[in-house]
Amino acid sequence: MKGKVIGKEQLAGWLDNLREEYDVWAPVKGNGLVSFHPINSASEIYFGFLNTRKTPKDLFFPQSEVLFSFRRGEMEKDRDTLLEKPRIIFAIRPCDAQNLALLDKVFDSEDYQDPYYVERRKGTLLFGMACTHPQTTCFCTSMRAGPFEKTCLDLLIVDLGNDRYFVEAVTEQGKDAIGKNNLLEDAGEKDTERLAKTKKEAEEKIKSKIVIEGLEEKLDKIFDSSLWDRVHQRCLGCAICTYLCSTCHCFALLDEKVDSGGQRIRSWDSCMFPGFTLEASGHNPRISNKERMRQRVMHKFNYFVKNFGQTACVGCGRCIRNCPVNIDIREIIQEIDNE
């Protein structure tokens, strides 16, 4: 598919056109954090971000959401719809978009389709912003992807480092979004050259490598290894690695009382918490940080692979950047490889 280009000054006009039909969500800076919010003007967008602290998975699978309310013992009616308008998520990073392919396997599986996730997913277009400034903690290129990965995207947008963005439609819907206005023009030879150069430079910036080939088989053999006694030692069990993880999908269903009624809510939960598997009898199959750390690593690099044929990690590096005691999943994988 031939690419398009748009001048940076024209971008606002393009997004304004799109906002007639869509709610446009984009990275916005506030309270010292960059996160995705619905925007009313392109001027609200913060382009200087490397990646958001929190993953945009919560736009599909919110950290906490009400499944239904009840009052005096009776359940109230469901919401009819979750999205008032179709959405565009503008400038999602390729790793976070690729992650949705993994979440799809869990929430949109053949046997049970999670209606909340599926409706949001189907009602959303993803406009990716290629990563031209990967961080030292990024390792997407080791996860069969890269800073220009197109999986799950409808459009891939690339900052060419001059006054232009390169725009490539990945899906038919993405093509439509381009086609609806005349602000985008066909890319010229110089643009394509610049694109190739930008891509190469970005990929070269990603220095960390982990080897996932053979990792699943390796993990099969080391369930009882003393490695697990070592790697959890520093862990505080704070669970930030799972809360900020792109791929973590574990949740709890809980009831919350409010006034004369209550709500059944779904909340993110974490395998790093002891209560996650604690049974009413007092029995806990994952009794210490050791078992819980093993579960986290195994789930991503072994169990998920067995169940869905893919590794449940996109190499976004959030778990590394945000761990208060500097636990680095890359080092753990290296240690596993050394076993």
């Binding site: 046997d111 574990c250 949740f251 709890a252 996650f276 009413a280």
Partner: protein, 282 residues
């Protein structure tokens, strides 16, 4: 929007206190909407999420037979720290609660046809086995199975559950019942002995047989030895596991043992399957 996580309303029609400690009760539930019962198609060994608004949900094995089509029964042990089990135990007959399911796989009823069936249960882990026995003994089904042998044990006579049902079965001649307690009392005239030991004494034939075994982990562990000694192969020993669950449909990510989800790939596993899993995960 969709009822994937929405329980169906049921009324508690009857509550039976099962044991002396009064912490095990059987709840007989009737769907408010008859169609919900028809849609609730289950097989022996499956479970459902019981739901009490404000207290949440818990996975509980179905204790009634699929052929008991008027109602569902669930036998629930109350734990002091169990929010849902405590809430349930505080309810009275006539109260409305919710049921979500059925979930999980089931005992290999088809593979059991034409075979002898040995059923071994311990403590209150006798609920889905009771569902199975009721199903096997049903007049429509009994002729399809050969000898049915049931060995059921509890710590003390007061802790045996389904007492009137046990008596009924003991009076039948198409099922061999062996009820035992770890420790008797002055009124107990029955068998005394641990389940694995009684199993050795009874020594049911493993020829053309399938064994269904449920009980506390320690009982399971020590029952496997005599079963294997009797010639049961790991493929013909079937058990059911429990784990904390939230969704029941393989999404919330907590009940896995290795890559297998107890809610979806289980709760029923053969001993052969369990032996494939790392022991530390069990």
């Amino acid at each position: 929007m969709n009822d994937l996580y929405r329980p169906k309303p049921v009324t508690i029609r009857k509550i039976v206190i099962e044991n002396e400690a009064k912490d095990i009760k059987t709840f007989e539930l009737v769907f408010l909407d008859r169609e919900d019962r028809e849609r609730f198609k289950f097989t022996c060994g499956q479970f459902a999420m019981l739901s009490v608004l404000e207290s949440g949900e818990s996975p509980i094995g179905i204790a009634s037979s699929p052929l008991d089509d008027e109602y569902l029964q669930f036998t629930v042990k109350r734990y002091p720290t169990g929010v849902l089990t405590t809430a349930l135990h505080n309810l009275e007959e006539g109260t409305q609660i919710g049921v979500r399911g059925p979930y999980g796989n089931f005992y290999p009823l088809e593979a059991m046809e034409g075979k002898n069936v040995l059923i071994v249960g311990g403590g209150f882990a006798f609920t889905t086995l009771r569902s199975t026995i009721r199903y096997l003994l049903h007049e429509k089904n009994r002729s399809r199975f050969k000898d049915i042998t049931v060995l059921y044990g509890a710590r003390s006579p007061g802790e045996l559950i389904y007492k009137s049902q046990l008596k009924e079965w003991e009076e039948r001649d198409d099922i061999s019942m062996y009820v035992t307690v770890d420790k008797g009392d002055e009124n107990w005239k029955g068998r005394v002995g641990l389940v694995p030991n009684v199993l050795k004494e009874v020594a049911p034939s493993s020829k053309n047989s399938i064994a269904l075994v449920c009980g506390p982990p320690i009982m399971l562990k020590y029952t496997m030895v005599p079963l294997l000694d009797l010639g049961f192969s790991p493929q013909t020993i079937v058990t059911s596991l429990e784990r904390r669950m939230s969704c029941g449909i393989g999404k919330c990510g907590r009940c896995n043992i290795s890559s297998r989800y107890v809610c979806k790939d289980g709760p029923v596993f053969t001993y052969a399957e369990l032996r494939e899993l790392p022991e530390g995960a069990l």
